[in-house]
Amino acid sequence: MEMPAPDSAVLSRKPRIVARLQEVLGKTGVIHDEAETRAYECDALTAYKCPPLAVVLPSSTAEVAAIMKVCHQEGVPVVPRGSGTSLAGGALPTADSVILGVSRLTRVLEIDYDNRFIRVQSGRTNLSVTGAVEEEDFFYAPDPSSQLACAIAGNVAMNSGGAHCLKYGVTTNNLMGVTMVTMDGQVLEIGGAHLDAAGYDLLGVICGSEGQLGVVTEATLRILRKPEGARPVLMGFDSNEVAGACVSDIIKAGVLPVAIEFMDRPCIEATEAFAKAGYPMCEALLIVEVEGSDAEIDEQLGVIMQIARRHNPVELREAQSEDEAKRIWLGRKSAFGAMGQINDYMCLDGTIPVSALPEVLRRIAEMSDEYGLKVANVFHAGDGNMHPLILFDANKPGDLELCEAFGADILKLCVEVGGCLTGEHGVGIEKRDLMTTQFEPQDLEIQMKVKDVFDPGWLLNPAKVFPLAASEARRKRRLAA
């Protein structure tokens, strides 16, 4: 992965830059020793590493603003970092950059059950947002798999999704407002406890902008009352096509499950060996979950099971107890861990129209033979967000490159059938150079023009999202300045 050459002028001014950052944060808030900055050299995309110039760990919005002013004056790129769980390299440093970590910004600022929102500092983890309101039976809906670790800051940056977004939407649908610090150190309040924008929907653009428009330090999030109950049903089918048709029929029937998860045979085999959830050995498995009171769940599952039966399932299992429900989810939730046990893997997250599912799975299988690399598929079937896991051997020379080429082909296929490169992980550096398969040059240009407005010097989270060739003129302009 090509990264732009670091700005030698910035590198040479490291002592002065560090001293100025320490003036703001004191010595404990600035990490600059080369052995220690290494802890921040990558995120969850571990194939790419580069220690930053320094790391700053501010404890307030005011400190973030002061840091941004210093970096702006010194012309130092800033890479915002939540918990570093990005699978796309969204928080990969450059050698001339300052990592701005929000890990000390974890406070709950306000909980308002009457108006159904919570305001938190952005370093708070996704799951601990729900944790803060659970005693009143409320929850924060977006639930990315990394929710135990991932920070709201990163969720906002990547517009994170989760398994339950068919019903509850993704981050952007649950985000009501942010406090954001711009590259030049201005503190902006956008949105709040009221709904919708007065003018242009800046909040909508900021969410999902991968930390390239500003550093979000606080967020107002919608919280919801928990449903009375939830129950999953497990279905096994002897072909991907039939499972895909079943998904489509369930959706058309007017039931809106909170989740429809899909696993194919390689994934079932791997997770079964690892988690022993008692899954049937078949070609395709669906987990469909609905919510409500017991009677409501019975009614919805009645409709769903009737549809499933029409598709001759090899297995149809409704959870009869809390324990059985947990077992049904166990395999799915340990799918990534299971794959990690047997192999190195690369996880993609392209989205496809649900109707294209059988064709896409067939073609992935063909490509798998051509590349000689195995693929396991697990994904959110209700919304078409795929997660093909390509298995490779990191110790085998050339295998990573082969895997990346295969991954790129799968993502191109997603675009070809009418989908997109990434449904919830973000572009980062991982899919940066594939952006031209989905977008015409002018479509990328208008996005870069949006960045020009927020960050004219192109200092925030450099070398992400846009192909380097596309952003070259702007990056050169910065260096010239």
Binding site: D112, G192, H194, Y200, I251, E296, V450
Partner: protein
């Protein structure tokens, strides 16, 4: 009037325009500062591009009448989740609202509190910017974080950033039936409290409104399968019993009519005066409404206040600084020229918005000034 019949023609028309353009969908929502310029109608860019009921997605050209889209969805027992308001009732306009107009104005109705705004269901756009360049963002799949989300930016930008040519939505199943749980005689403060209690319950309220007046009425809507609606009606009625005498309306047709009237602010139709729309934190609503004076109606559990005010009154001067925003929806052209229809933003936000407008429309020819402070 310019009436391009294709995206390419629209692009050429904008590229060669030598003055301001006034963008028209169905012309049913004359909101914002009056715009002078050559009329540009999207009426000829109409039709469904793609509809996949099994994938809950639809893609239509921007000039397609909203009624056509809704009828098509209804055939498959689906609907637009956000329940767009029909402004003709309130504004006394004629013509056919278009789907592009709905998006340009980010029009949402009572279900917004549960299903999100228009912008939340919008998953893709194609548009032509102020220099005539054809652009796209988002797509036809409901989970997509590829690149910046300009879909949200285009929703509610009232044609000032680009002229929409195609819009894609996530749709939802139509529900089997609906019912209202009603409480009579509450004050606005009591009503907001009751609505907050309902919205904080697990019973999935899809509408929460309060109509003050001589016989105040608080309405809470439940939708879904019949047995489920019956169950939740009973549970919700019990939950709200402490607020007063609770009754239920299970006649789906009458419930539907009540929410259509609420959605379209029918109560203020034909009544003399200007109409303002105020978005606030629900618990602030009773006090804000009292400050505003005039007649008020509460939707979104209190989060949305409709106010019928004396003509040519600057309501914002009465409200002072408050958390939220007020939009002047119905007023004469003279009033809309004098009082900013859209809430003026704080200086740094206004600067960013103006910066964006210049990037998308460098010549300032698309509905110029419509959203100006």
């Amino acid at each position: 009037m310019l009436t391009p019949t294709s995206e390419a023609e629209l692009s050429a028309a904008i590229a060669s325009a030598d003055g301001p353009l006034r963008i028209l969908g169905g012309g049913t929502r004359p909101i914002g500062r009056p715009v002078t310029g050559q009329a540009l109608s999207l009426g000829a860019l109409s039709g469904v591009e793609l509809y996949e009921p099994g994938a809950l997605t639809i893609v239509v050209k921007a000039g397609t009448p909203l009624a056509e889209v809704e009828a098509l969805l209804a055939k498959e027992n689906q609907r637009l989740p956000f329940e767009p308001m029909d402004h003709r009732t309130l504004l006394g306009t004629e013509g056919e609202p278009t789907i592009g107009g709905v998006v340009a104005a980010n029009v949402s109705g009572p279900r917004r509190i549960q299903a999100g705004a228009c912008r939340d269901s919008l998953i893709g756009v194609r548009f032509v910017d102020g220099s005539g360049t054809i652009l796209k963002n988002g797509g036809r799949v409901m989970k997509n974080v590829t690149g910046y989300d300009l879909v949200k930016l285009m929703a509610g930008s009232w044609g000032t950033l680009g002229v929409l040519t195609e819009v894609a939505f996530k749709v939802l199943p139509e529900t089997e039936t609906q019912a209202n749980v009603l409480i009579d005689g509450l004050s606005p403060h009591q009503a907001v409290e009751a609505m907050s209690t309902a919205l904080g319950s697990p019973f999935e309220i899809t509408g929460a409104a309060h109509l003050p007046g001589d016989s105040p009425l608080t309405m809470l809507r439940l939708e879904g399968f019949a047995a489920s609606v019956a169950y939740r009606t009973e549970r919700l009625s019990a939950l709200l019993a402490p607020f007063g005498s609770v009754r239920a309306d299970s006649d789906a047709a009458s419930v539907r009519a009540a929410w259509r009237d609420l959605r379209d602010v029918a109560a203020f139709s034909g009544a003399p005066g200007d109409v303002w729309r105020i978005s606030v934190k629900p618990s602030d609503a009773p006090d804000i409404a009292a400050l505003a004076g005039g007649r008020a109606m509460f939707d979104w559990g209190g989060g949305l206040i409709w106010v019928l005010a004396p003509e040519a009154t600057d309501l914002r001067a009465r409200l002072g600084a408050f958390a939220g925003h007020a939009t002047l929806v119905r007023a004469s052209e003279e009033t809309r020229a004098r009082i900013a229809p859209f809430q003026p933003a704080a200086a740094p936000i206004a600067a960013l918005s103006e910066g964006l407008r210049r990037q998308f429309d460098p010549r300032g020819i698309l509905n110029p000034g419509l959203m100006a402070a």
